[in-house]
């Protein structure tokens, strides 16, 4: 059972309080009618299934009801960070140890953001 840091409640809570909502950072095409059937099908149905770092969306369903993102290693289940909707991850497949400082915005530099990380 995962231990998940809600970036809104700013607390580690049990997985039972959350619902997983699939891959994060999937944006609905702004003009669906302009999409080919294939492009629309890709948006609807096709998801990554990486071995290693994965960005996924969760909702604090039995808590603050907020959706947020989680960077999780699908092999070790380690959660590297959680971050609010609209923000970008610090840890990616390209930067598994974290993006260099010059690629982070101010919010990501805040040390409190690290509280969700399991050691």
């Amino acid at each position: 059972m995962l231990h998940i840091y809600c970036p809104y409640c700013e607390e580690l809570r049990e997985e039972e309080e959350f619902h997983p909502k699939g891959q994060a950072h999937i944006t609905r095409p702004a003009d669906p009618d302009a999409c080919s059937d294939e492009e629309w099908g890709d948006y609807l149905f096709f998801r990554d299934n990486p071995r290693g770092i994965h960005h996924e969306m969760w909702v604090h369903a039995i808590g603050c009801r907020k959706f947020f993102n989680v960077t999780r290693n699908t092999v070790t289940y380690e959660i590297l960070e959680t971050y609010p909707m609209g923000e970008q991850p610090r840890f990616t497949a390209e930067y598994p140890e974290g993006k260099p400082a010059d690629q982070l915005n101010d919010a990501q530099q805040e040390p409190s953001r690290q509280e969700g990380v399991h050691v």
Partner: protein, 1016 residues
């Protein structure tokens, strides 16, 4: 002394038992005596009981092999009464208590003279590996029958048929460091962490803490080992930051340092928890521990050697022999032969000598064994046969001898002539396998270590291991390793480690162990005597060899094919030997063949502990409406809808005779169609939606238009997913320009709420709109039928005039003097008013309606009548007519789709995909059975041609089907390929019993097709 006479294998002194306390127990109907501190296994051995079970497949007699969790044979059924039955208890882990009653799990009527034995012997011939897959593949429907036969024949224990008198608790725990195992490494680790100020939980599965130190020959600071254990445990017990959990097994490691600990609190006291002050304490507790760091000090399991007839009672692991002698004061035989590959096992022979019995020989697979323990044995005059092993055990119900010869482990050959030594016990040791189970639960694959000839755990972040589980088998190493692993964990937690002064212990000079798993025999494995690898599942070396010959190369496949490791012991003793044999047969190394995977639970956990208090009334929450008590008093039958209890129908009792469901539903239906009925619809999901962009939001999540819905008006809406498939439906009322009340299906309420939040938070955060679940705040009372207006008018100040309060309007006012919202919406096709009042006023309103309703014969109805009435009108239920593959167009509900809405609403794009445009999609239609007395089966498959060869092409299925009292006929809703274009066609429904029903495709609106009745 008289006790010793009754217990022929009990030594006069020593061990951790209390000879002053004699306990009586019954095994297979016979009375025996043991002592406080015994396990059931040690007491049976003390009494000289050789056979404790019959084997699963071959029905061979089996004795006790081990002394702990790894025991494969000594499985017993506990309990003197039906309610107290506990299956598959390992006698090696069951503390003896006075009055304990146990039976062998296998072997009816008794293990000595087993009626299954002959059958088993025959069965064995016909049960090669893969037997289950080959024999019981088909038909699948027969599997239950096969399973019963196998279970009855082989016996896997049985669960009680009566209610468990005990109860069980769950506890949520938090700590900085969880230490699993209280042997030398675990104790030194816990002491280090505790003295450093960390919050520590130390758990250990045994009756007392100390692990290997409880039967150790070693001295710590010049004292017997248990002195040090007692000092450490008493220090820990006094510390406020330490929780000690003896008799507690860490059964599963479940992500992020969440570990489940099963604490058995009363199983050593009696078969049910004894009353204290009239209260029954919980029998066991499941501690759900979220730890900062986890330290595994779980030790190792000794590997027995695999040789011919190594399952005859009297064959044991060397370590178990030592444990029984030194911890329990029981020497399990008279004449010992020890077959070993390593120095450490020599202590079994030394312990045996100390107990005053004869060591016939030590048979050491190594050519020139040397080490301190070897020297001690030599000094005491023990015959040591070098470069040799026990090829096979002699005897049937008990070992009578050991056939020994020199071997070459490398070439897998017997090199010399054999010699049979007379003995009654063969102890064997092939080395030590670290107990990596919990580390394995994390998903981290263990790695093979050639130096210690075993798998060592791979550790995920935050998990540490110390002592034997890492291959540090020497006591001094284990103690030191515990301290250093604790220091690592403490540093990760931000604590400075306080150094612990460790006791002085001897470091022994040890010769290197040799790698031997299966002992060679003069005959090929397939033809020699059976060499058991997994005793619980009767898997032999020959079966593994056969599996590899049949093409199974991955150890995971070999395991599944032979069932190795699939017993309740998960192959704790046999798995590594089995892998080694597969590796030999395949000409590979052990790590090349694979690794070993263990899954929770480490040992079986009783369902009671898993369930805790979540059983019976507390199994799942139940939701009641405000009128629930009234329904109960009226004798309603209830239906579960999600967690809600809804009245299903209200049977009347006249002259002591209670209506059938069919009669009650017919009466309720006609009351609504001809008079007035009343439904408690409070369970409908209700979501209050507010904000300047609420209207825009509704237009995006519903398929139809919301831009012009004025305050005071109500609209029915369809909600799709973005794949265009219907997800939920309901009405939404405009309460004010920026204020709406959405209703959802009862079961869909929480999901729709999350769905709205999802779209708002992730795609359209710019919209100003807020959602609030008000399902429980408002009760809903539906008054429906031709007399509904007259009845309601008596108790409301709202003008119910049909011209000013039209269908699909809502009005605010009072009903029964209570503030209310009244909605003119209809799920029955009749004139209907849905009254919403604050839930705590609802029963008053409900009762007032009945006070005024008597003259109209106001009839309460339940969900079944609701279903019949809505189906007569062709009104769908999301989740019944739909299954995630049905579009609004499939339902013929194009009228509720706003194709020209400006915003690309959810589901719109999908409706122009080629698949959603297919003309042969399954479409909703009505079905009228040709025989009006037939009520078609819901879910029944539909075919166009009943004479088509099997398999017939199936073209749809029945989604809803009822008997209609007003139509005096069965009728159904169905989805049929291209159904909308097939009105008037006849379709067929072949049933399981061979009958075929014919039905006509008709409009799904069966009653009042023009919809006039709801507008009156």
């Amino acid at each position: 002394m008289s006790q010793s006479l009754k217990q022929p294998n009990r030594v006069r002194e020593g061990g951790r038992i209390d000879r002053a306390q004699t306990l009586s127990f019954t095994f297979n109907g016979k009375q025996y005596q043991g002592h406080a501190g015994d396990t059931l296994a040690s007491a049976l051995l003390a009494n000289g009981v050789n056979i404790v079970n019959r084997s699963f497949k071959y029905s061979r007699p089996r004795g006790i092999v081990a002394a702990g969790a790894e025991e494969p044979n000594a499985l017993v059924q506990l309990g003197s009464t039906e309610a107290a039955q506990v299956p598959n208890v390992r006698a090696t882990q069951q503390a003896l208590f006075d009055g304990l009653v146990a039976r062998s799990t296998n072997g009816w009527p008794n293990v000595q003279r087993d009626v299954m034995s002959l059958v088993g012997k025959l069965g064995g011939q016909f049960m090669p590996p893969g037997f289950y897959y080959k024999t019981f593949m088909a038909p699948a429907s027969m599997w239950m029958t096969y399973e019963k036969v196998i279970r009855k024949g082989a016996g896997l224990g049985r669960s009680p048929m009566e209610r468990d008198p005990d109860h069980y608790d769950h506890l949520n725990q938090h700590c900085d460091l969880l230490v699993v195992g209280a042997g030398p490494a675990g104790l030194s680790a816990a002491l280090t962490a505790a003295r450093s100020g960390a919050r520590v939980i130390l758990c250990d599965e045994q009756e007392e803490m100390g692990g290997s130190l409880l039967d150790s020959r070693e001295q710590l600071d010049g004292q017997p080992a248990h002195h040090w254990v007692e000092g450490v445990v008493s220090e820990l017990a006094q510390m406020a930051n330490v929780t000690l959990l003896p008799r507690t097994t860490a059964n599963g490691y479940h992500d992020h340092h969440f570990v489940t600990l099963h604490e058995r609190r009363t199983e050593h006291l009696g078969e049910t928890a004894p009353l204290t002050d009239g209260q029954r304490p919980s029998r066991s507790r499941m501690h759900r521990v979220r730890a900062g760091q986890v330290l595994l000090a779980t030790g190792a399991h000794e590997r027995p050697l695999v040789y011919g007839n190594n399952d005859v009672p009297g064959n044991m692991t060397a370590g178990a022999v030592s444990t029984y002698i030194r911890r329990y004061g029981v020497v399990p035989g008279n004449k010992l032969v020890l077959s070993t590959t390593n120095d450490y096992a020599y202590r079994a022979a030394l312990d045996w000598l100390d107990a005053g019995r004869e060591v016939v020989a030590i048979v050491d697979a190594r050519k020139a064994p040397e080490g301190d323990l070897v020297e001690q044995a030599r000094v005491r005059g023990v015959r040591i046969i070098e470069g040799a092993a026990v090829l096979e055990a002699k005897g049937s119900d008990r070992v009578t001898g050991a056939r020994v010869a020199t071997i070459d482990a490398e070439t897998f050959k017997v090199t010399g002539s054999s010699d049979t030594l007379s003995c009654d016990t063969i102890a064997s040791s092939g080395g030590y396998s670290p107990a990596i189970h919990l580390a394995s639960h994390t998903g981290a694959r263990p790695t093979w270590n050639d130096e210690i000839l075993g798998f060592v755990p791979s550790l995920v972040k935050g998990v540490h291991a110390a002592g034997s589980v890492r291959g540090f088998h020497q006591l001094a190493d284990g103690l030191a390793n515990g301290c250093s692993a604790a220091a690592e964990a403490l540093s990760a937690l931000g604590f400075a480690a306080t150094p612990v002064e460790l006791p002085q212990v001897n470091t022994y000079r040890q010769g290197a162990a040799c790698a031997l798993y299966q002992v060679p025999h003069e005959k090929p494995t397939l033809r020699g005597p059976k060499q058991f690898v997994d005793m619980q599942n009767d898997v032999t070396a020959a079966a593994i060899e056969l599996a590899t010959r049949e093409g199974f190369e991955s150890i995971e496949h070999v395991k599944r094919y032979t069932a190795m490791g699939f017993g309740t012991d998960q192959g704790k003793l046999g798995n590594i030997n089995g892998m080694a044999i597969a590796a030999r047969c395949l000409g590979k190394t052990i790590p090349e063949v694979g690794t070993t995977v263990f899954r929770p639970n480490y040992t079986p956990v009783t369902f009671g502990a898993i369930v805790g208090r979540h059983c019976r009334d507390l199994f799942d929450p139940e939701r009641y409406t405000a009128m629930h008590q009234w329904h109960v008093e009226q004798g309603a039958e209830f239906e579960d809808v999600g967690q809600w209890k809804r009245p299903w129908y209200f049977p009347r009792t006249v002259n002591g005779k209670t209506e059938s469901m069919h009669d009650a539903v017919a009466r309720e239906c006609l009351a609504v169609r001809q008079g007035v009925g009343i439904l408690d619809a409070s369970t409908l999901g209700k979501i209050d939606i507010q904000g300047p962009d609420a209207r825009e939001f509704l237009g995006r999540v519903y398929t139809n238009k919301w831009a012009k819905l004025a305050p005071g008006r109500v609209r029915y809406g369809l909600m799709c997913k973005d794949d265009g498939m219907l997800m939920d439906d309901g009405t939404t009322s405009c309460l004010g320009e920026n204020h709406f009340l959405m209703t959802t299906t009862t079961g869909g309420a929480a999901g729709v709420m999350e769905w709205l939040e999802l779209w708002h938070q992730t795609e359209w955060p710019d919209l100003q709109v807020y959602f609030n679940s008000v399902t429980d705040h408002w009760a809903t009372i539906t008054v429906t039928g031709p007399e509904a207006r007259k009845l309601l008018a008596e108790i409301t100040d709202i003008d119910l005039d049909r011209e000013t309060f039209k269908f699909m309007d809502w009005r605010e006012g009072t009903v029964a003097d209570v503030p209310a919202r009244v909605f003119r919406i209809s799920f029955t096709g009749e004139l209907s008013f849905e009254i919403n009042v604050q839930a705590n006023y609802a029963l008053h309103v409900w009762k007032t309606l009945f006070a005024h309703g008597e003259k109209y014969d106001l009839t309460p109805y339940g969900t079944e009548t609701m279903h019949v009435l809505r189906a007569e009108k062709g009104l769908i239920i999301a989740g019944q007519e739909t299954d995630g593959s049905v579009t609004p167009e499939d339902l013929g509900m194009q009228w509720a789709v706003g194709y020209d809405k400006p915003f690309p609403w959810i589901g719109k794009r999908a409706l122009t995909r080629s698949d959603t445009r297919r003309v042969d999609r399954k479409q909703m239609v009505g079905l009228m059975p040709k025989d009006p007395s037939v009520v078609l089966e819901e879910g029944a498959q539909i075919v166009f041609d009943p004479d088509h060869a099997i398999p017939m092409p199936m073209v749809g299925h029945v989604t809803s089907s009822y008997y209609s009292p007003i139509l005096e006929s069965g009728f159904a809703l169905a989805v049929i390929k291209g159904g909308h274009q097939r009105m008037g066609e006849i379709v067929y429904l072949p049933m399981v019993d061979g009958k075929t029903h014919a039905a006509e495709i008709v409009s799904p609106v069966f009653y009042d097709p023009k919809g006039e009745r709801q507008h009156v």
